[in-house]
């Protein structure tokens, strides 16, 4: 089980007073303190861990966020920033003595500038709403995490979120131009802007992916891109995971930049096909979905080249989408995979990343480890960049099954690190992988990172107890707060 620090009773004792003072900053109904309403904030997408916060505050403006942060700092109250609460890593899990600062009311599009291809938004806006705002004019926002209907840009910035299409367009950090950030002392600071590459230290890169620990981003300037004329996928089936993995590397090496390159293994294929009836072959071990973009002629040319590159790997199924209906069908199974698995069992979705050349071996060892723990694991993932998402199926109501699932998860992430990969490709560390950080970094490396947090948040009030192992952060935080 993942531990959280012992809440500070003295803070909790002042709860009513703090609530009253927060109500002087935002309208009364935007401070939540009834137990039944706090329950909605007790967890995020990592719902095995739950802890209602002391209070929730939902500001409308940057100035209100700044005032809330200033108040909390003066009162010594930890702040848990929260976008939409879709983190799969427990990035917005509260502590009992904390105020959750929710961005859900801050959803405005502030400016769209097509000539310079930028959009300025409040960070509570959902990822999909950003694309929605510019789509009628032929543009889109590239990072597309699968939670994009719900997840907030603020959370995307905190976790440096990716998505299926980042193979071509990059992840959040590659598409973020500027932020307005409320610092731990309540000061409002601008980083970057509606232009590329400011000189000086690259604060924007440091802020993106810092899991809400360096400040609270309230507004962001994002890059928008012209939408492709069209996109069509192609489906390949293979007899072994190894050969499918080799085909992935061959496609990448050939310079055939697909926009998406998704991999499904046998357990995932079976479950998805039974659920979505996408027409996937059931006699293969692995499926690849390769999608390319462009005009019809460009798409045809690229798919023909991809087919030729894959041919030597003797795919047993080759299906090329000829129109939108066929495209939707090919994607139907992939898109239904998580839901279909959710119907069968509870599951943990992992997020390791490995070099492409290690994929076959990692998949083989994943199956062996699953067998050892007597649990089922399905693999559905972004193969083009080696970003694995093993889904561990288990029984949440059975403590033994939960424990085993968590142990298997940790083993699989250790395996990724052993194979020269990393613990998390796009979900973030949060609380979930916090204690595993020492498998990837040594103590000196983590202390250097903690020293960065010290610069931004000297008393560790913003999203504490995340990212760094408690064995390192707890004594450090005590020292910092004492100072």
């Amino acid at each position: 089980m993942i531990e959280m620090p012992v809440p500070d009773r003295k803070i909790i004792a002042r709860r009513d007073d703090i609530a009253a003072r927060l109500r002087r900053i935002v309208p009364a109904e935007q401070v939540i303190h009834a137990a039944e309403e706090l329950k909605a904030y007790e967890c995020d997408g990592l719902n095995a861990y739950r802890q209602p916060p002391m209070l929730v505050v939902l500001p409308d403006t940057t100035a209100q966020v700044a005032a809330v942060v200033t108040l909390c700092r003066a009162e010594g109250v930890p702040i848990i920033p929260r976008g939409s609460g879709t983190s799969l890593a427990g990035g917005s899990l509260p502590t009992a003595d904390s105020v959750v600062l929710g961005l859900s009311r801050m959803k405005d599009v502030m400016e769209i500038d097509y000539e310079n291809r930028t959009i300025r938004v409040q960070t509570g806006i959902t990822n999909l709403a950003v694309t929605g705002a510019v789509q009628p004019d032929g543009f889109f926002y590239a990072p597309d995490p699968s939670s994009q209907l719900a997840c907030a840009i603020g959370g995307n910035i905190a976790m440096n979120s990716g998505g299926a299409h980042c193979l071509k367009y990059g992840v959040t950090t590659n598409n973020l131009l500027g932020v307005t950030m409320v610092m731990a002392d309540g000061e409002v600071v601008e980083f970057g802007g509606a232009h590329l590459d400011a000189g000086g230290y690259d604060f924007l890169s440091l802020i993106c992916g810092s899991e809400g620990q360096l400040g609270i981003c309230t507004e962001a300037t994002l890059k928008i891109l012209p939408s492709a004329e069209g996109a069509r996928p192609m489906l390949f089936g293979f007899d072994t995971n190894e050969v499918a993995g080799e085909a992935v590397a061959a496609i990448i090496r050939a310079g055939l930049c697909p926009v998406a390159l998704e991999f499904m293994d046998k357990p995932a294929i079976t479950v998805s096909e039974n659920f979505a009836k996408a027409g996937y072959p059931l006699d293969v071990e692995a499926l690849l979905i390769v999608e390319v973009e462009g005009s019809d002629a460009e798409i045809d040319e690229q798919l023909t080249r991809i087919e030729a590159v894959v041919a030597p790997y003797a795919p047993s199924t080759v299906k090329r989408s000829g129109n939108d209906i066929e495209s939707a069908k090919i994607w139907a199974g992939r898109k239904a995979a998580f839901g279909a698995i959710g119907q069968l069992a509870d599951y943990i979705c992992l997020d390791g990343c490995v070099p492409l050349s290690q994929l076959p071996d990692v998949l083989k060892q994943t199956a062996e480890l699953a067998k050892k723990y007597d649990l089922r694991v399905a693999n559905v993932f972004h193969a083009g960049d080696g970003n694995l998402h093993p889904l561990i199926m288990y029984e949440a109501n059975d403590p033994d099954s939960s424990r085993k699932a968590e142990e298997l998860g940790a083993d699989l992430l250790r395996l990724c690190v052993e194979k020269d990969g990393c613990l998390t490709g796009e979900h973030g560390v949060g609380i979930e992988k916090r204690e595993l950080m020492l498998t990837q970094f040594n103590e000196r490396e983590l202390r250097q990172q903690m020293a960065i947090k010290d610069v931004f948040d000297p008393s560790w009030m913003l999203n504490p107890a995340k990212v760094f192992p408690l064995s390192l952060s707890t004594p450090h935080v005590e020292d910092c707060r004492a100072a």
């Binding site: 000086g200 690259d202 012209p226 990172q449």
Partner: protein, 391 residues
């Protein structure tokens, strides 16, 4: 005195000694970019030149890991053998700065050298997968890794990219690389004034044609590259039918601006390296700003200080030359830029001028506090390239 250790531990030992002696170090790769930033006052130089090996190259993973002292020439030759290239098209600053030697990968990353392809494929920092570095306490550290996606901990590699060796000494770099395109074709519209040219580039960049570079050379500058009139340039890449189709679409869409002609020469290395400003004694600035604001700034500075300019990154990057004088017209440039949103960096001027002015955009008070806080967090004794970025 110059040390050129051939191991990372050797680098660390020199740093620890320097820290104990409170003796600052000047960090050097190939020495070709020593004129960037502010002059460093240090009795000792630490050269990375002997750390010049390839650690790993996996073409099928688009991944290269190399030591910081590996020359860009060697890196590019290695990538070329697999028909691949760097994503960020790093400029070669030798002609502009009048320096010799061979540019290194570590140098390019440490000054965040990004060329025309930055527009489409990202900056130097966007290509970074990870690095090894030595901080100011002589600790050897790893940040990031070698995989394509990685959000494990803070993104320290990107912070060190563009930190001019003031936070740590980069010893090893992991990069995402890219395949070379089958067809690379530049097209041009002749004779447009700046404002119209930037509008034409914006129109092109609003189309899904994956334009990989977009520049405008006003007439005085374009002549240096042999054009008769101002040249508004777009680089299109792809497979053959793809590139042909994209050029057709662009030609059609840009018709209101003028005829779009294919050109045979490759102007991009000269644009990348600002060759049009090489070989004279003017000060040179690089200004990053909104493309649509750029012609307004340039018009103003032409009038006020007789500046000469050209535009890269669709207009979002202005290269500007002006009389050096005592302060490279810093006051006029920063004052004009203050009316817009952007950052100006002095790229070329004498040591005396660069020591006297803010080479980088002055920071707001809270950002300046963070900068000195970070410097202190990585290099508490202040021995790594002191003064290179700020006085």
């Amino acid at each position: 005195m110059t040390d050129a250790p051939d191991t990372e531990e050797g680098v660390a030992r020199i740093v620890r000694d320097a820290m104990a002696a409170a003796a600052p170090l000047e960090i050097r790769g190939g020495g070709t970019r020593m004129g960037l930033g502010r002059p460093v006052q240090a009795a000792r130089t630490l050269s990375l030149a002997a750390l010049d090996s390839t650690v790993l190259y996996e073409p099928g993973e688009l991944t290269l890991v190399a030591q910081a002292g590996m020359t860009l020439k060697a890196v590019e030759a290695l990538l070329d053998s697999e028909n691949q290239q760097l994503t960020f098209e790093p400029p070669d600053h030798r002609a502009l700065l009048g320096t010799g030697g061979e540019p290194t990968l570590g140098g390019a990353i440490s000054v965040a050298a990004s060329g025309p392809r930055r527009l489409r494929m990202g900056a130097a920092r966007d290509a970074l997968l990870g690095m090894r570095y030595v901080n100011g306490q002589g600790e050897t550290l790893r940040a990031g890794g070698r995989v394509m996606k990685n959000v494990t901990g803070y993104d320290v590699p990107k912070l060190l990219c563009g930190a001019y060796g003031t936070l740590g000494i980069v010893t090893e770099i992991g990069l995402k690389v890219m395949p070379k395109s089958e067809i690379v074709q530049t097209v041009a519209i002749a004779g447009l004034p700046d404002g119209k040219a930037i509008a034409a580039l914006a129109a092109a960049l609003a189309m899904p044609c994956d334009v990989s570079a977009a520049a405008h050379l006003p007439e005085t500058v374009s002549r240096e590259l042999g054009f008769a009139h101002s040249a508004t340039l777009l680089r299109v890449e792809g497979f053959e039918t793809q590139a042909t189709y994209r050029i057709e679409r662009l030609t059609e869409a840009l018709a209101p601006f003028g005829p779009v002609e294919r050109i045979d020469s490759d102007p991009w290395p000269a644009i990348r390296d600002a060759m049009m400003f090489a070989g004279d004694d003017r000060a040179v600035w690089r200004i990053s700003m909104k493309a649509t604001d750029a012609p307004l700034l340039v018009a103003d500075l032409r009038e006020r200080i007789g500046a000469e300019a050209f535009y890269d990154w669709g207009g979002g990057l202005v290269w500007l030359a002006c009389e050096e004088g005592r302060d490279a017209s810093e006051g006029a440039i920063r004052q004009t830029l203050a009316g817009f949103d952007g950052h100006a960096t002095l790229m070329r001027a004498s040591d005396a001028v660069r020591a006297a002015v803010s080479v980088f955009q002055p920071e707001s008070a809270p950002v300046a506090r963070l900068s000195s806080g970070l410097k202190n967090a990585f290099d508490p004794a202040g021995i790594l390239n002191p003064g290179r970025m700020r006085a």
